[in-house]
Amino acid sequence: MSPASAQPLLAIDDLHISFPTPRGELRAVRGISFQVEPGEIFGIVGESGCGKTVTGRSILGLVPQPGRISGGRIMFQGSDLTAMSQAELRHLRGNRIAMIFQDPSAALNPLFTIGQQLLGIMKRHDPGKRAGHLDAAVSLLADLGLPQPESLLDSYPHQLSGGMQQRAMIAMALAAEPDLIVADEPTTALDVTIQAQILDLLVALKEKRGVTIVFITHDLGVVAETCDHVAVFYLGQIVEQGTAREIFKAPRHPYTQGLLAALPSPDAGQDALKVIPGSVGDMVGDGVGCAFAPRCEFRMPHCDRQTPTLMPLGGQQQAACFLYDEIGEGT
């Protein structure tokens, strides 16, 4: 299919997610829209607490309790996930949409072998043919670079290294050959060298199997090597999005610029590391004005009175910042 006519695999439209708290509604996600094309890796990047996990979990209909989707739509292959029953969602989970978690040692059940967990998922989504599952499991583990897959099936999670656990987790996500994988900080809990291997593995999955991945991370540096498109989250909103190339070449939003400047570059020493001053604001309240204003060095008077929305900046790039108001309207 041609890229122009292709329907996005996932289209999130004005998504709102909130948690009831004693102080009022905590609006963890406040009006997010983005589209994920089939066969790409779509990056969601932002500081801790900005709503990445909650957004990722909403794609499987698994917003953590007591949160709820309070508005918007999540269109997956043309149907709205927010309108589906739990039974319908269960049919999609693991089968069409799968998830990889941050800490594989917590996401694998300690009392069941890798084989029991992997085959359980295969059996759930394709009952019958037991022997076929076993062969499929072995070749899947081998494909993912796991040595001695047969004996691995009989291993318990605690007998594996972190990197092997995460590969096993990825195998479980792939078990029923899903169309979309939500990977929530899949390398954050791993050693640096293992991190790189898992990232390479995800890119290879995209290239060889055509799997679409929503890749969640707090590390903009990781995004550059992995993602096709990127959305930068700040306090439950998208402040900038575009292709990874656009965002790295010319970040427009002051927050993205700050994140990029904070990355350690090869020719700068550790002490040159810049950190964005200030701390992330509050998620309770209606939030009039730019959420980033308290930390922004370009803050203007009207930044506090009006809320900037995403402006097209040429190419696929968009940023929500009043600095680009004229650009958006004029040229």
Binding site: L62, P64, M99, L108, N109, L111, F112, I121, R124, A173
Partner: protein, 345 residues
């Protein structure tokens, strides 16, 4: 490091606990006021008769020698004589122990088969109507006095409805006209082995009320324990991961989460089980159930010290066996079990 090694270690520990209890009962028997021989013969016995009995029972030998003999005879199944019944204690236990065991086993089976599933449902419905209801009922269940519940049930099911017998293990006419050989001492098993279904039904009818009363506490306790540990497990990431992989809620609750959550419940049920061997005394008395509780109570009332030692020993052994079983189940469930994983025996 293996599970086998772990279990072997636990078993070895159990042997030491047993020896410790033997030593304790032995020491107690030598320091309590009152000469065992005098107790045996009664307060009017003459001095030379007492001497003779002391000689006969080896009470004049050095203490270490007496202890070794005590251990040896205990291990060979000789628990001494009851001063009250004037029979070997082992003889008395032969009917008393199975009577209590049958009662306690039935109530434990009820606790597992009723309490655990209800606890799982309660946790999965946390905060909703079913959970609120079950929490109120189980608070009542753990706090209601058993004798009061027993009297209430007797009033209802015997006096008013006349559905169930008032007490005992079997009806007298069955005992007289239709007896069955006692192999295990568990009437439900023995009657079934003999193919005597009328007696089996009669035994079942007799055990319903006392078992229900005895089970009220463990059922309620296992609902509460299971609920609490299930709630903890259900908040684990691996449960979210299981949901994310599309497994059904029933499968997640009963196949996955319950396996992670069951051990605390089993541990507590094990303790309640062992405690009930003598702790069922009120239930046994109210339902005229000829078990260990009433046997022990009579021994206390009549200074029948060797019976008390024997009962102590039995309860200890039951504790040890039950704990070993729980350890065994835990080791079977959890591959991470290591040596020294726990220190209580």
């Amino acid at each position: 490091m293996s599970r086998i090694e772990y279990l072997a270690r636990r078993a070895a520990l159990a042997v030491f606990v047993l020896l410790g209890v033997l030593l304790l009962t032995f020491i107690v028997s030598r320091v309590i006021p009152g000469d065992p021989a005098r107790l045996y013969l009664g307060s009017r016995a003459r001095a030379e008769a007492i001497q003779q009995v002391r000689e006969e029972f080896g009470l004049n030998d050095p203490l270490p020698q007496q202890f070794l003999r005590y251990v040896g005879s205990t291990l060979s199944g000789d628990l001494g004589y009851s001063f009250r019944t004037k029979r070997p204690i082992v003889e008395d236990l032969r009917t008393r122990l199975p009577a209590t065991m049958e009662l306690v086993l039935v109530s434990t089976v009820l606790a597992v088969t009723i309490g655990v599933p209800l606890g799982v449902l309660s946790a999965s419905q946390a905060g909703k109507a079913f959970d609120q209801f079950s929490r109120i009922i189980t608070i009542a269940g753990v706090s209601i006095p058993s004798f009061w519940l027993a009297l209430l049930l007797q009033l209802l099911f015997f006096m008013t409805l006349d559905w169930l017998p008032l007490g005992g293990r079997l009806s007298r006419d069955i005992l007289l006209t239709d007896p069955f050989t006692q192999v295990t001492g568990f009437f439900l098993i023995d009657a079934a082995l003999a193919g005597n279904w009328e007696a089996w039904r009669d035994a079942l009818w007799h055990i319903i009320m006392p078992a229900a009363v005895l089970a009220t506490y463990p059922i309620s306790l296992s609902v509460r324990m299971t609920r609490a540990s299930m709630l903890e497990v259900l908040s684990e990431t691996y449960i979210t991961a299981a949901r994310a992989s599309g497994l059904s809620e029933i499968e997640i609750l009963f196949k996955l989460a319950l396996k992670n959550a069951i051990v605390p419940t089993l541990t507590v049920l094990g303790l309640v089980f062992a405690f009930s061997i003598t702790g069922a005394v009120l239930v046994e008395i109210i339902f005229s159930w000829p078990g260990m509780g009433s046997y022990m109570l009579n021994a206390i009332l009549s200074d029948d010290v060797y019976v008390l030692f024997a009962v102590t020993l039995i309860v200890t052994i039951v504790y040890i066996i039950v704990n070993l079983l729980v350890d065994f189940v835990q080791a079977a469930l959890d591959p991470r079990i290591r040596m020294g994983g726990g220190s209580e025996a």
